[in-house]
């Protein structure tokens, strides 16, 4: 009897797991959601579309393609995969792949001068000068925010987003 109940519970857990999304699905959703709580202070950056660029290796696979065409703050999203940093001019959001962790200060400095929101899953990304960094707490994906970097870049982060951050560097 107990065995049957255990079996039943196990099968329930199994189906529950099936509905749980993959790590990168969550991160992709977060990426989209970040854009909804961020405002750029420079009106020139108000291009008709919001360009999201992935620098370096793309860890999302085709998950990120779902963002293509979605609308954030009235602007449609557009994905771009610049080959080099200099190609990334005109991006509003810059996701930095893990492979580029070595020249991170240069990338963030370059990006922040051009009012880009820098996002990465590189550990301690915010301490290195990035604006939003993914962190993993157990199985749950969370994020940290470097408000000083954001302010320097002229990017305003909504307080609701700050409330949710695991850590905010002010």
């Amino acid at each position: 009897m107990k065995f049957l109940i255990a079996l039943l519970l196990w099968s329930l857990v199994g189906t529950a797991n099936a509905s749980v999304r993959s790590e990168y699905e969550v991160k992709a959703a977060f990426l989209y959601n970040f854009t909804r709580f961020i405002t750029w202070s420079d009106p020139l950056a108000e291009a008709p579309e919001m360009r999201i660029c992935v620098l370096g290796q793309d860890p999302f696979g085709d998950v990120l393609q779902q963002l293509n065409g979605r609308v954030s703050q009235g602007r449609p999203l557009a994905l771009a995969y610049p080959g080099s940093l200099s190609d990334s001019d005109g991006c509003q959001v810059l996701f930095i792949g893990s492979a580029r962790s070595r020249d991170l200060p240069a990338i963030t400095e370059y990006a922040h001068e051009r009012q880009m929101l820098t996002i990465s899953e590189i550990p301690d990304f915010v301490e290195e000068g990035g604006i939003i960094g993914y962190v993993k707490e157990g199985n749950v994906i969370r994020f940290e925010i470097n408000l000083q970097a954001a302010q320097r870049a002229g990017i305003h982060v909504n307080s609701r987003l700050l409330e949710l951050a695991v850590r905010v560097i002010r």
Binding site: V26, F30, N33, G74, F143, R160, E163, L164
Partner: protein, 485 residues
């Protein structure tokens, strides 16, 4: 006793008071009820808008947390609602309708299923509210809130208590005022009614009611007083005229009785005094016939005989007048009589003293009347003598006396088979000195039936006759029962 409790027996005061109080009670009840209803509506609206404000704030706060699936943050946000004691349940749903955060104050039922379109608004003891959580026009989740209405209920209960307490106080004040004011109306009516009753009971027309004010009640009082004044004056006049009338009647009566007495004395003395010369005429007539009869020739004796016959007739007339005046004057001695026996005696006398015609007299036995024996004997003697006399020319005589008793009277009928009379002279029958036959046909004085009439009238009865010529006559004597008792 139960009768006294019925509406129509209630005094006017009570009715007026009840009327006023029922109207004011109705008014106060309506006002209180509408106040309670309006207050309930207002309070519900207020409660609703408060809850909406709270929800709006919370949905705005929780939008980001929903997006980033930060359940902890959501729990923090909604746990602030714990401070509001009436919140029963709060649920936050993500965009796909799953419960991501939940607050249950009394461990009741779980969150509703969003697919089943949960009830919202005031249902039962709860107010339920479901609002979408939106960000830039996108729905990112739902916020469900369920609040107990005990505060509303308690508030309304307290409001009802207060409202109705005030209502009762107002009603008491109104009752006091109504008690005072109804006197303005009921007092004059009460006094009017009292005065009318006293006047009806004591016939004291000097009573007047006090007049209050110039309204209808005042007019009523004035009219009542005037009416009673008029009645008083008329009553006085009636009493005066009655006294006057009584005095006049007494005067007339004494005058009349004096005249009657004088008349009777006159007729008595006349009859009495007439008798003496008549007796002289008769005596000397007789003496003349006896002593000098042979000296007179045939004609002389004839005249003498006529004189004596006339004298006898006159004697009869005088006797008749005396009887008539006696039955008119005599004091009555009333007692119960057996009329049948009396009539038998009279008939026996008649049989002995008159002709020997074959006679059949039938008298009903046991006729009992109340009256004066001597007078009734005179009356029935006259009636039977008449019957005897007017049948004397028949081959045989037949007289029937019967009595007929009605509830209010007894009627004695004397039927004969005599010559009868013409009914057109019936009016003259009972008038003195009126005769329907000449002395040559039947002798008589013309006083008999007048005497009968007088006697029967003195017994408060009446006498009447029915006849036709040669068919006999019937005389009826009717005595009223009141006399009989």
């Amino acid at each position: 006793m139960m009768e006294r409790l019925r509406w129509q027996y209630w005094p006017l005061k009570t009715k007026l008071l009840l009327l006023t109080l029922s109207i004011s009670t109705l008014g106060i009840l309506l006002v209180c009820t509408s106040l309670v209803v309006v207050e309930n509506e207002n309070y519900q609206e207020q409660l609703e808008s408060e809850l909406h404000v709270i929800t709006d704030i919370l949905t705005e706060q929780s939008a980001a947390a929903l997006l980033f699936e930060d359940d902890q943050q959501l729990n923090t946000i909604i746990s602030s609602l714990r401070q509001i004691g009436t919140i029963e349940q709060v649920c936050v749903f993500n965009v796909s309708g799953e419960v991501v955060s939940e607050l249950n104050s009394s461990g009741g039922a779980g969150c509703p299923d969003l697919g089943g379109a949960p009830q919202v608004g005031f249902v039962g003891d709860f107010y339920r509210l479901l609002e979408p959580v939106t960000l830039d026009g996108d729905t990112v989740g739902h916020f469900y809130l369920m609040s107990r209405l005990e505060v509303l209920r308690e508030h309304i209960r307290a409001f009802i208590v207060v409202t109705f307490s005030i209502g009762i106080v107002i009603q008491m004040a109104l009752a006091w005022v109504a008690l005072r004011l109804q006197r303005l109306v009921s007092e004059p009516i009460f006094e009017l009614s009292n005065a009318a009753q006293r006047i009806a009971r004591e016939h004291d027309y000097s009573i007047r009611v006090p007049v209050y004010g110039k309204d209808e009640l005042g007019h009523l009082g004035i009219a009542f007083n005037e009416m009673i004044g008029t009645i008083q004056q008329q009553n006085l006049r009636i009493l005066e005229s009655r006294d006057e009338l009584e005095r006049t009647v007494a005067d007339r009566t004494s005058e009349l009785s004096l005249a009657n007495r004088e008349l009777e004395a006159f007729s008595f003395s006349v009859s009495h005094d007439l008798r003496q010369p008549l007796r002289a005429i008769e005596g000397f007539g007789q003496a003349l016939e006896e002593d000098c009869g042979d000296q007179l020739n045939e004609t002389g004796r004839d005249y003498l005989s006529r004189i004596r016959t006339a004298t006898v007739r006159m004697g009869g007339l005088i006797d008749g007048l005396l009887v008539l005046s006696r039955v008119s004057r005599q004091a009555m001695e009333i007692k119960q009589l057996d009329l049948s026996v009396m009539l038998e005696e009279i008939v026996d006398e008649l049989r002995e003293t008159t002709d020997s015609l074959p006679t059949h007299v039938q008298i009903q036995r046991g006729i009992r009347v109340v009256g004066d024996e001597r007078m009734l004997r005179v009356a029935f003697q006259n009636l039977l003598e008449n019957a005897w006399k007017y049948t004397s020319k028949n081959d045989q005589r037949r007289i029937d006396v019967t009595a007929c008793e009605a509830p209010d009277s007894i009627t004695v009928a004397i039927q004969d088979n005599g010559v009868g009379f013409d009914m057109k002279y019936v009016e003259k029958l009972f008038v003195a000195f009126n005769r329907l036959h000449t002395p040559s046909q039947f002798i008589g004085t013309g006083l008999g039936l007048a005497t009968v009439d007088r006697v029967v009238r003195r017994h408060f009865g009446e006498v009447y006759a029915d006849s036709s010529v040669d068919r006999g006559a019937c005389f009826y004597v009717k005595f009223p029962s009141s006399m009989q008792k």
